[in-house]
């Protein structure tokens, strides 16, 4: 979860989010470089006192300030498109988890081993008194998923449009009634991850959080068996 006055991303909980953070850092370096360059020349130009005296063209400089930005953009585009297609690769999932949004709670359905178990969990937000200081984030039940296992998450809704979000995992999917949206995630560490509904859905839109715990595979089975 975020802490007070946090400016950057939360610690990544999935491999994709790590890549998103690397890409963000890479792009931000380029942005800061370009910004510094532009600001320096802008300020120098304003303070120089020079006046334009009929200068109409400069073939070399115009060529340079077209080509270099294009090269920079190509450098940004490669990792961006790579990531974009990587996160859409759904062929390697091991586990299917269905997320259904309701007004105003989330429910999760997990089916295992060719119909052997169907687990359905309804997760309501804990009231302020029971939230141990983490108001608007805690739920009475939470979803557990095994780490290092590609999970296919199918998001839908029972009533109005919601959005299932976990910022630390880098996933967000609209829960649209009558539609199944597919997300792909592989948790990378054992931790508790928090999120909140991200599409206005009525009076209690701010009060339907998402809580997910990354656990080892045996612990996941134990959770399913409720031992």
């Amino acid at each position: 979860m975020s802490s007070w006055c946090q400016l950057g991303f939360q610690d990544a909980g999935s491999y994709f989010m790590e890549e998103f953070i690397y890409f963000h850092d890479f792009t931000m370096m380029i942005i800061l470089g370009v910004l510094s360059y532009v600001v320096v020349f802008l300020v120098l130009g304003l303070l120089s006192g020079w006046v334009d005296s009929g200068f109409v063209e400069g073939q070399l400089i115009e060529f340079m300030w077209t080509i270099f930005p294009a090269l920079i953009l190509i450098q940004i585009a490669f990792p961006s498109l790579l990531l974009l297609y990587l996160i859409e690769d759904f062929s390697k999932s091991f586990l299917v988890c269905k997320v259904v949004g309701h007004q105003w709670y989330w429910s999760y359905e997990i089916k295992t081993e060719s119909s052997e178990i169907l687990a359905s969990v309804d997760c309501y937000m804990l009231p302020r008194e029971g939230a141990f200081g983490m108001r608007l984030l805690l739920t009475d039940e939470f979803l557990m998923l095994p780490i290092n296992v590609p999970v296919r998450i199918l998001v839908t809704s029972d009533d109005v449009i919601h959005s299932w979000t976990l910022p630390s995992l880098g996933i967000k999917g609209d829960a649209v009634p009558g539609r199944l949206n597919q997300l792909n995630v592989t948790l990378s560490r054992k931790a508790m991850f928090y999120g909140q509904c991200s599409e206005i859905c009525g009076a209690n839109h701010s009060f339907m959080p998402v809580m997910l715990m990354g656990v080892t595979s045996p612990q996941f089975f134990m959770w399913l068996d409720r031992l």
Binding site: L118, A119, R179, S217
Partner: protein, 105 residues
């Protein structure tokens, strides 16, 4: 068991933790849950609604053509049970019973 959780399990099923106790995490992972409806090139994108519905319809058609005991029909059955939310399945089953299912099977 918490009131917010429902587990349905067929009679005689061994609890998974007991079934997998004594195995290392790697071995558990190999035998894991691991039924995942295979990637269907007809539905390559984020919207999997049709994937779920098509498998349901294909199962119903398969069973009507070949009978309930025809094993290959189970492929479609597994797929739709894994992909489709329970509410949708119940609604379609009810529509089938009432003869109001929107597709001609």
């Amino acid at each position: 068991m918490s009131s917010g959780v429902e587990i349905t399990r067929p009679e005689g099923a061994i609890p998974l933790a007991q079934k997998y106790s004594g195995l290392s995490e790697e071995e558990v992972k190999k035998r894991i849950i691991a039924y995942n409806p295979p990637a269907d090139s007809r539905f390559p994108n984020q919207n999997q609604t049709k994937n779920c519905f098509q498998n349901y319809v294909d199962f119903q058609r398969c069973v009507r053509l070949r009978g309930e005991d025809y094993k290959p029909c189970q492929f479609f059955e597994r797929n739709y049970k894994f992909l489709c939310p329970t509410g949708w399945i119940e609604k379609w089953d009810e529509q089938l019973e009432n003869n109001t299912f929107p597709v001609k099977l």
